[in-house]
């Protein structure tokens, strides 16, 4: 399987409620003894496209190998797509919509 580079969407109360209402709470992973996150996968091409489109975002190549620091409203849009499509594989749809 090709390597993937996740976008971590950290679950606050508002996001948790939406996930629970959609029956998707199982998609959230436990992290750091007290947090929950959605890890939305990107492939190399998608990762590069996102970093180009959103210059404040950063690929943490050293430690976590994840895309971090995407603006909150952008993460909200990705989160909404996950809830609507009931899958984590939404990046093509997200990129097509931006």
């Amino acid at each position: 399987m090709a390597q993937t580079f996740p976008i971590n969407i950290w679950i606050n109360e508002e996001r948790l409620e939406k996930l629970q209402s959609a029956g998707l709470a199982h998609l959230a992973q436990e992290a750091f003894a007290g947090l929950r996150k959605l890890s939305v996968p990107t492939d190399e091409q998608q990762r590069d496209a996102i970093l180009r489109k959103f210059p404040t975002a950063k690929f943490d190549s050293a430690t976590t190998k994840s895309i971090e620091l995407l603006p909150r409203d952008i993460k909200d849009r990705i989160f909404t797509l996950v809830v609507e499509k009931k899958t984590l594989n939404v990046i093509d749809a997200f990129l097509a919509s931006t």
Partner: protein, 415 residues
């Protein structure tokens, strides 16, 4: 090249002191016939030279030192030095101001007399060569390379004297310890072994354990937190948050009183990886530290350097007279149920690595990180600093860059 003892502390054997009393400074300023305004980066480099942070440098480098530093990582005198400290200027400015070798040049900052440069040399240098030698790449996406390519085409070399010492503004004033002052404080406190922690981040518990691990490893009396205060990039933590949260670690008891001191270093990070690690070691030796901790990706950026490049370089140069504490990362392990050392924890598959970037991302999402990875006192102070100093955000944005309180203020001086 001379065979010198690089282990001497301060570097070169003598702490440089080129700070003049304002009364004498005024006199020196009067003798200078040429006035040249400088920017904040140059002003803080002059302070670092004059107060001895950069000992044995007494001024901006001439061509021989620049060439020797770039190619051999040494000054002409033979002492190890890894980053060129240069004063760039355009040919037009040289002509317009009629600048020539031998001139005393009054450098002004914030409209006030600030320092005097005794001009010993005007020269050019191949900026591509400088970038390649210092940063190991010619890629202009590297911030240090970008800075190098942005230099104007000529350089001025010569000794500088700070003639009008600036005021360090709150909240940084409490953490300003020039080498002479810090060495005296270390002696007064009776500390024999002090390990330096270089930072440009608000501390998460991975940083905290790096410091504590370095304290154990070096059998130190204390940790000196040396916060780099300088040029910022959008998305970085604001300087105030970095300094105040490090202090909060001790104030909240995560470090006992008498084992930890927060300080600032005025410096624009070059992100030169291993070469910057050498520079950091020299500066912290000049401050009086006996050890320096180097973790993963020390002073690196992107993927230009291998994660432990800064560890490898110390075996390739002479003893600098400051012990290197070389450390791996700390991670959260759900099996161990704690933040633990990656070199000891056997749960590689289960481990959850975290970084400053990841924690910034959590905060940006409006989520409070758990105390195991981010102390609640640090979190609260980050948010408070954002409100007080960052125009509503603890992260650098345009408004902060444009309107932040200056770190230094040069007092009025009539000449």
């Amino acid at each position: 090249m001379a065979d010198v003892n690089n282990a001497l502390s301060p570097h070169g054997g003598k702490l440089v002191d080129r700070v003049m009393e304002p009364e004498k400074g005024r006199k020196k300023a009067k003798e200078a016939k040429i006035k040249l305004p400088i920017d904040g980066s140059r002003a803080t480099e002059i302070m670092s030279i004059a107060y001895g942070f950069f000992s044995p440098l007494e001024g901006f480098m001439g061509s021989k030192d620049v060439d020797s530093v770039c190619k051999d990582m040494r000054l002409q005198s033979g002492y190890i030095w890894s980053i060129p400290i240069v004063f760039d200027i355009s040919e037009e400015e040289i002509k317009e101001k009629k600048i020539k070798v031998g001139d005393s040049i009054l450098l002004t900052y914030q409209g006030q007399p600030f320092a005097v440069l005794e001009l010993a040399e005007i020269f050019s240098y191949d900026k591509t060569l400088m970038a390649e030698k210092v940063y190991g790449t010619k890629d202009e996406k590297h911030p240090g390379v970008k800075r190098t390519y942005a230099y104007k085409d000529r350089f001025l070399g010569g000794k500088v004297t700070l003639i009008n010492p600036p005021r360090i503004n709150p909240p940084f004033d409490k953490y300003w310890y020039p080498p002479k002052v810090l060495r005296q404080k270390i002696a007064e406190l009776g500390w024999k072994r002090v390990v330096a922690h270089q930072t440009r981040n608000v501390p998460h518990t991975g940083h905290e354990w790096l410091m504590k691990g370095a304290w154990f490893a070096s059998n130190a009396d204390a940790v000196l937190v040396s916060c780099v205060v300088g040029e910022k990039r959008a998305g970085d933590y604001i300087d105030e948050a970095i300094v105040l949260t490090h202090e909060a670690l001790r104030e909240s008891g995560y470090f006992r009183e008498g084992t930890h001191l927060t300080s600032i270093l005025l410096w624009d990070m070059r992100y030169a990886g291993p070469r910057e690690a050498v520079f950091h070691a020299i500066v912290r030796k000049n401050l009086g530290c006996t050890h320096h901790m180097f973790g993963r990706d020390h002073a690196g950026v992107g993927t230009y350097y291998s994660p432990y490049a800064a560890h490898e370089i110390f075996s390739q140069i002479p003893d600098l007279g400051i012990g290197s504490v070389l450390t791996l990362e700390w991670w959260y392990c759900p099996i161990c149920g704690e933040v633990t050392y990656s070199g000891l924890c056997g749960h590689e598959k289960e481990q959850q690595a975290f970084s400053g970037t990841l924690i910034r991302s959590i905060i940006q999402d409006g989520v409070k990180p758990p105390r195991l990875i981010f102390r609640p006192e640090v979190f609260d102070l980050v948010m408070e600093s954002g409100d007080k100093y960052g125009f509503g955000s603890p992260f650098v944005a345009g408004e902060y860059l444009a309107k932040r309180n200056p770190v230094i203020t040069v007092p009025p001086m009539e000449v």
